[in-house]
Amino acid sequence: MKKDRVIVPYWILLLLVASSVCIVGLSAEAQQNKFRLKPGAQGKICLSCHGEFGKKLKQPFVHTPVKAGECSSCHNPHASAYGKMLAAATNKICFTCHTNIVPDQALSTHKPVGEGNCIKCHDPHSAKNKFNLLSAGNELCFGCHAGLADTIKKVKFKHGPVEKSCLNCHSPHASGKSVGLLQEKVPALCLKCHKTETPIFQKQHMNYPVAKALCTSCHDPHGSDKAGMLYANVHQPVAGKMCNQCHEEPGSSKPFATKKSGLDLCKGCHITLVNDALNKNRIHWPVTDKTGCLNCHSPHASKEASLLKTSLTDLCGECHADTIERQKQADTKHPPVQEGLCMSCHAPHASNNLFLIEQASQIELCQTCHDYEKHQTHPLGEKTVDPRNKNVRVTCASCHAAHGTANKHLLYYPTSTELCVQCHMEYDRR
């Protein structure tokens, strides 16, 4: 038997389609108007109390949700577990809309971005500057990077793009291409402006193909007082343009290869220093490995004296992180440690004494700064045997830890009572 076909009148179909559109639209609107504000009330209703906010709306750059009067995009109008009635934690709320600020596999992230501290740079409502920045241009960056600001302003040889804008080289949020928030790795970044094929460029670089090398090994990208924008301290062969003293000839198959490696290369000039180090009882082991001197020193130029790669705190901290950390957490700071003056006490290459201490006597070492005899009379020295151990003598280190402890005055124990009875056990009343 033939079934009758069901014919749906067109007007019913039209009604169904129209209804679907309305439902979707209403859902979207409901989502936007989750607080069920009266029509036209979004934004305006907030201004009825927060009248002073009207001035913000007159700024040249207004945050889109603010402009649209969608205060509830960021703020909860009823109650909130977060400050300023924000709808989410301060360090997360911006990312609910701005999801791609930090790329996947970022090689470097700007600290305030990583901490979600967007308002360090941006006004969340409105500003005089594009992107709602709190200040314009480099002034914003200099607010935190004050030391660098000072350098950039004062150096004799300035780097043009740096003066104009930090963002000529750096990404403000994160970089998927390089460390240091650079938009590109060095030398690709530098080659965007600097033409390396010109005769004068090649002559200045002794015909070495430096377009494949690390420009920042010699040049300070923020400017310097040295011609050629070299770092403040330049290795003599570099200053003398004698690259081939260490490197193969520029026309060779491996022009940047060094003629020798490790200690063997450096002792060609620094023979006395190397021999002195090797003739001591204790050598700082990084001096002897394959990398040798370059573990700590830059071979070309550096901001730091003695061509150290970076500050001593950072440099020594690369291996001795636990010791640096101990000082950071210490109650009382020991200035030579805190200020990164490791060489006040330690010989960097070699010594005849434990821990590469310069002096044979620990007391003599401390006495270089502390005239302890003026403020205490506790017996110290070779004739004072530590009651805890007949082979140990009482020295400064019997009570104090030079790199810091959780207790005041670098003491091993929180109170003098607890400290003293370690040796004077007969007075232990605990």
């Binding site: 490790g262 200690l263 090797l278 003739n279 001591k280 009882n281 204790r282 050598i283 082991w285 990084p286 002897t288 490995d289 394959k290 690369e318 291996c319 001795h320 992180a321 636990d322 010791t323 434990l354 530590d386 805890r388 151990n389 007949k390 082979n391 140990v392 370690q422």
Partner: protein, 298 residues
């Protein structure tokens, strides 16, 4: 039913507790001086083995001290001084009692007879290629008397036989940090300790490369500088933290022993460890100018 559960708990609880217990180190005293009562000073190394002898590199005095180990503890130590040995930093014994000393000033390993007579230096013969210079940072001796030398300048572990002839080399793994000790177990597996990253690498017998064995020891140690291995455990000496971390042979953390201080059972800047075949554990307690002796209690 409740009574049954209570009974099972009473029986199983001690077993469960025992399963969680790690090895204990029973203190057996310390060696402070030699037979003439001259104290030890900044001892950097300890050597022991199957001869009931404890050797101490009394670095601060430029000598070795040899102690006979009897049931009552170490007997008064006999000094070994030779003009060629200015700054002994590590000392090891092979199966026949021959003594090997790493001298810090000469950057060479000295060979000394069991009676304390100087024989010569270990000269690595037959080194491959151009890498003929080597600087030993540390070394170990296996059951077959082969020497495993941490060659810092060439970033490798050199394996020499008992006569100093080159057998093979194991290149350092690609890693940040600095390798400061090497140990060998009875099966010939070589272990390498990175002090900066607090990681351990291993190479099976006859392998020429290292593989990661343990990472992430930073949670348990401040700055490890010495390593030893027995049948059941690896012992990692934490120089800056004044302790010893125990790892199973599979690399799992099994506990941290001892703590920083001056008293017996406490360590200050310990620098070396050795394990003998009777369960003895000897630690060069450098900052306390002594060698502490423990017995492993399973």
């Amino acid at each position: 039913m409740k009574q049954f559960i209570a009974l099972v708990s009473i029986v199983l609880f001690p077993l469960a507790m025992q399963a969680g217990e790690t090895v204990k180190l029973r203190p057996m005293g310390s060696a402070y001086s030699d037979v003439a009562d001259m104290g030890i000073l900044e001892p950097e190394g300890v050597g022991c083995g199957n001869k009931s002898v404890l050797l101490v590199a009394d670095t601060g005095h430029g000598r070795l001290i040899s102690y006979s180990l009897l049931e009552g503890g170490p007997q008064p130590g006999v000094e070994i001084r030779i003009p060629q040995m200015g700054y002994p930093q590590r000392v090891r014994m092979n199966s026949s009692g021959a003594i090997f000393v790493l001298d810090g000033r000469q950057h060479r390993i000295l060979r000394i007879s069991p009676l304390g007579e100087y024989i010569g230096t270990v000269e690595a013969e037959g080194l491959p290629g151009k890498a003929i210079s080597w600087i030993p940072k540390n070394f170990a001796i296996d059951a077959q008397d082969n020497l495993y030398i941490l060659d810092v300048i060439s970033s490798r572990v050199l394996v020499l036989n008992s006569e100093g002839k080159f057998q093979r080399q194991i290149s350092y793994p690609q890693s940040e940090g600095f390798f400061s000790d090497v140990a060998v177990d009875a099966q010939g597996t070589v272990y390498l300790l990175n002090s900066v990253t607090a990681a351990i690498y291993s190479a099976a017998q006859n392998a020429d490369t290292f593989s990661p064995f343990v990472k992430g020891l930073k949670e348990y140690v401040s700055f490890p500088t010495a390593l030893a291995v027995d049948r059941k455990h690896l012992y990692v000496v934490d120089q800056n933290g004044g302790g010893v971390v125990l790892l199973s042979r599979e690399g799992t953390f099994e506990g941290r022993k001892l703590s920083r201080g001056w008293m017996e059972g406490e360590l200050r800047y310990p620098s070396d460890i050795c394990l003998d075949d009777k369960g003895g554990v000897f630690i060069a307690d450098r900052g306390n100018n002594r060698v502490q002796i423990f017995m492993v209690v399973p």
